[in-house]
Amino acid sequence: MITLLHPADGLIRRMVDEPWLVPDQVRRHVLGCPRCSSRWLLVTADGAAVERLLPPQAELELDPRSAWAATQRRLRTADPARRPASWARLPRRLVHPGRPAAAVGALALLLVGAGMGTAVAGVKWTQIFAPTKVAALPVTRAELLALPHLREFGRLTGTPELKLTPEPTLAAAEAAAGVTLSAPSPVPAGVTGAPHYYLVPRWSSTFTFSSARARAAALAAGVTLPALPAGFDGSRLRESVGPGVVITYGSSGESLGDLFGVRRQRSSACASGSSCKGGAPTKVSGSSVPTLALLAVKPPVLASTGVTVAELESYLLSLPFLPPSLATAIRHLGDPVTSLPIPVLSDLGQSQPTTVDGARGVLFAAASPLASAVVWEAGGVVRAVGGLVDADTSLALARG
């Protein structure tokens, strides 16, 4: 029997970002070892905190022709004997002269890249996913951990982190979102505190497939990934969701911000009437969870420059690290164009289909801690209600 030592922090850090590049036995150890799973949670939280400080950037609209022309001009006017201004401040390793030249070798590869760019020029976006119903996708935390990050298959740009905006009243949130949401009346027993209202702004991001990036990640890990199907390389997907409205009970805006990424109030916001104290930035408070939350949001829509949902699903199912049980669950989702998968953590509770005013929904219920939620889509709006309440209470709230 092989005894695995507790992995170092660095390996656990990589497990957060690139879990499929971490050996299986290490992942199993981390998930099964109380000490290491605690460290993994801590490292995950620290990484998430830094990602909030350094959020993914929007795609920059650049003009490569002008940039190339400008660089050529600077090149022509540069003194060949000059020492670049940045030279002295660059690491010594960067200026080591002993490395072999290989620029020509790259040319073929680079031209492939340039050709790829040309191939997608003038492309039209086609909507490929517009859900009209929800469907449960049972998944365990371990299965989620085994999934690779999308960044390993291409480039993700846009605004990947959803940000909620506090609103003073429900009416204000509804007006901003163009979506209606009914507050519960009366509030169920056990739900305390004043309601908080939030606008879910319209959110979108763009993903560009890159076979080179997928290949590099696989090579670095020593694993073999199926090649991206023809037409994937360089094609783009654009996802958008929202706007919408959220109501929460039992938590302040600050702690909700930790949970859902709400931008915390800062001094410059105080001038607009927000409740700030002395202009000082607020500190993160505890991790109080809303005892009840209600959501109404325009459903996600996916547009593509060429790849279809069926092709995406087929490629996803061909990935060797996709757990068989998850693959089976994906196959049972139904029509991939109109079914919105709702991931439900099957190791925390159970889910079952339900109906809300004739619309198909998903009911999730956990016994310990007591929690439940209902998600359904009706009238072009995805709705959800849930919290630290039993399933009957969530269903009653959903059905009005």
Binding site: A70, E152, K163, A269
Partner: protein
């Protein structure tokens, strides 16, 4: 897609000369340099923009880096992409540390990422990003560099390539850098953007 995106859709992790069959020393032509430029320019700008938050300043850094590369490595470089990205990170951080740039950044309202936000939230984001950028400029350069590279979207393999370290060391260094940035941010009570 408009013509401006042509040539910028090239994949990020191209590694010049990794294939032994392609590593024969040969004089780099203008065509080779242009191909390298077109393939890597967007990625290099992205690294600089991670620090400077201003597209024009990031493009200036990127062009300066390509210029340096051409002057220093007219015959090419074994890991050109990594060289360019790391150079962009260091040069951008150097500019960030200068008061002139720092003050100029205070006037920058936003990049395209805040295009859909309200004016108030855009100002909040801008303010926080400026403060986070200042914190980046205060931590150790090697910590700042790995954060800039990783949070520009580079994979661990690409970060390792840029830093010329084994990929297995990236996680540990990234972890130390993240803790350093958080410590600096906590010291200044900077609230992260949403």
């Amino acid at each position: 897609m408009d013509s401006t995106a042509r040539g910028l859709a090239a994949p990020q992790p191209l590694r010049v000369g990794r294939d032994p069959a392609l590593s024969r020393p040969q004089a780099a032509t203008e065509e080779v340099f242009e191909a390298l430029f077109r393939a890597e320019y967007a990625g290099v700008v992205r690294v600089a923009a991670r620090v400077l938050l201003e597209r024009a300043a990031a493009e200036d850094v990127a062009q300066e880096v390509f210029l340096d590369f051409h002057l220093r490595h007219p015959l090419g470089h074994q890991t050109a992409a990594g060289w360019l990205r790391l150079a962009a990170a260091h040069l951008a951080l150097n500019r960030l540390r200068s008061d002139r740039r720092r003050f100029r950044r205070e006037q920058v309202v936003r990049l395209e990422s805040t295009g859909g936000d309200s004016p108030e939230s855009a100002v909040l984001a801008s303010e926080t990003r400026r403060e986070v950028g200042a914190a980046l400029g205060r931590i150790k350069p090697h910590h700042a560099a790995i954060l800039v590279l990783r949070y520009s979207g580079l994979s661990y393999a690409e970060v390792a390539d840029a830093l010329s370290i084994p990929a297995g060391q990236v996680g540990a260094r990234l972890r130390r850098a993240e803790l350093a940035l958080r410590k600096e941010v906590d010291r200044d009570h900077i609230a992260p953007p949403g």
